[in-house]
């Protein structure tokens, strides 16, 4: 009985090629859209968190002003001094390194090439704090930092723009009115989570920057990296009270600086990406639903013909359960085929689009399974239940169905 039901179901699929094709198509579209969108969303989330990890894991930043971002209030918020970094390093425990940072935008010239970029002045601690590795050369020495020597370490983008394929170490850049020797090349970190090119940078000793470019003693940012296993919250609390003390803030006044750790940034950004993934997933779920409604329509449109067919089968001696088994096999076969084709197309589309969007392709078994089961359920539901209703009629009623 089982084999004959399979035979009859396959004959029914073959007879109604257009109906079968449309049913499969509805499932393919639904399954394909959901899997593609969620897979790409997951890939984007992973790409963002990878980039955040490249920032350095336990990084705490202290910046002047009450808060970050637009509407930042810098009035009455003096910059830091290089001495602040030394005091922090001396007084707060479980720190890896503290780097005072000042920035300046400049145009850099090498031979016939020039390039506008941002120069960062800091100490050698900057490389540890920022999770930078050297591709070539060395970082500056204590003596060079103390003396404010004209040496610098350049990022991969600056190297490409000024030196092309030439080895940069030993070359002399002209920055404003002084010549600066390139002593090191940083390994590439790629785009930041915000979409900025992190490799478009030049790092020189803080004192060199202050003397030759900014002409002030100011430091914009204090970058603090916490030891692995260190208590970041404790460090942030210590930093806050230390900075309030050094900046002579009265007990009833608000901070005129802000402290932020990368975990917060990371949480904020991955949170945003996750919301985007959920949004994509919701859009895709709608397409799954639309596909399901398509299947439903096809099944319901053909219900008259199918009801008459069931009447004929009952009249010539089919048992109710044989008819039901046949329609169940038919619905399961079509739904599974649609689901499998949908998964295959979604995998192709995801791999292709992930390559174009430069995000990793991450296979997500859960979403594959869920969308497959959902569409299969719709297919079986609307293929099987109208058939079940028809099979329970008296044969003559099914035959007369209009």
């Amino acid at each position: 009985m089982f084999w004959s039901s399979i035979l009859l179901a396959l004959r029914a699929i073959r007879r109604n090629l257009m109906r079968s094709f449309l049913t499969i198509l509805g499932i393919v579209i639904g399954v394909g859209a959901v899997i593609t969108m969620v897979t790409l969303g997951n890939g984007a989330t992973r790409a963002v968190s990878d980039q955040i990890a490249s920032l350095g894991s336990n990084l705490v930043m202290v910046r002047p002003g009450k808060r970050l971002g637009p509407g930042r209030d810098e009035a009455g918020s003096p910059n830091f001094k290089a001495g602040d970094a030394e005091v922090i390093a001396a007084q707060i425990g479980s720190l890896d390194a503290v780097a005072p940072v000042a920035n300046k935008s400049v145009t850099v010239v090498y031979a016939a090439h020039n390039w506008s970029t941002a120069v960062t002045g800091s100490t050698d601690a900057y490389f540890a704090v920022g999770n930078w590795r050297l591709a070539d050369g060395r970082v500056f020495t204590e003596a060079e930092q103390r003396a404010g020597k004209a040496v610098c370490v350049i990022g991969a983008t600056v190297r490409k723009e000024l030196f092309g394929d030439q080895p940069p170490v030993g070359g002399e850049l002209r920055i404003k009115n002084f010549a600066c020797e390139v002593i090191g090349l940083l390994q590439s970190k790629g785009q930041s989570a915000m979409g900025m090119d992190q490799d478009d940078t030049i790092v020189m000793p803080l004192r060199t920057l202050q003397r030759r470019l900014t002409g002030s003693q100011d430091v914009n940012t204090l970058m603090v990296s916490v030891q692995d296993g260190g208590n970041t919250d404790q460090v942030m609390a210590d930093l806050r009270s230390l900075m309030r003390e050094r900046r002579k803030i009265a007990a009833n006044e608000d901070d005129n600086f802000s402290i932020l750790d990368t975990r917060q940034i990371a949480d904020a950004i991955t949170g945003t990406t996750k919301v985007m993934t959920m949004l994509l997933g919701a859009v895709a779920a709608v397409s799954l639903l639309v596909g399901g409604i398509g299947i439903m329509n096809i099944m319901l449109v053909s219900v008259t013909e199918r009801t008459r067919e069931i009447g004929i089968r009952l009249a010539i001696g089919a048992l109710e359960r044989e008819v039901l088994l046949q329609f169940l096999v038919e619905a399961v076969a079509l739904s599974s085929l649609g689901g499998i084709v949908g998964i295959a197309l979604a995998t192709l589309a995801s791999v292709g689009l992930a390559g174009i969007m430069q995000v990793p392709y991450l296979f997500d078994p859960a979403i594959n399974l869920v969308s497959f089961l959902f569409s299969a359920a719709i297919g079986v539901l609307f293929g099987y239940f109208p058939a079940r209703r028809a099979a329970r009629l008296d044969p003559i009623e099914a035959l007369r169905h209009e």
Partner: protein, 243 residues
Amino acid sequence: MNATVERTAPESGPLIELREVTKVYGQGPAAFPALRGVDLRIDAGDFVAIMGPSGSGKSTAMNILGCLDSPTSGAYLFRDAHVEKLTRNQRALLRRHDLGFVFQGFNLLARTTALENVELPLIYRGEPRAARPAKAREALDAVGLRQWEQHTSAELSGGQQQRVAIARAIVTNPTILLADEPTGNLDSQRSHEIMDLLVALNRDRGITVLMVTHEPDMARYAKRVVRFVDGRVDSDRHNGEKR
């Protein structure tokens, strides 16, 4: 299967018998009695034409005899077994093994070849795969459509479709062939061909034929004519007798 409907059961009484059968459609004030107490006995090997005006209950009686519909009250005996007490599955098995149907609207499966249509009852009977095509071809041969076996219903004329339906009904070698207005959708020449076929099946294979028709021309082929009026048997006489 119920042992009492075995073919080998002693043929003491008539093949089928209706006793005081009623059928009411609908409920309450809208209830319509299609059959108001029908008594009918049909012996094996008979060829019965059931006639009557529209709404006289002739098709309802036919559907009950064919186990396509259930009576509201009364008894239906098939080889002394009470059909009205059988379960849905038992009645399906009765249709499968003993009954063959021919409908006014042919009721072939759409987009299906003649051969596959005729094979269908064999599949439900669990005939081995290898034996099916030969049996189906034999039945198609009997209705003269052997060379049309690969044509779908849409590619066949009405008369040919009805002959495919007859082939499908007789492929299982049923005890009774039930034909509801088998010539209702056909022109007169096709109608006479179909009737000749039914007569031959009755005569050569001993199949009991029950046929509903409103055309006196077609009823003339039968051995016996039962006339329904208002849900009751109005007259029941053998052809050749005076009205």
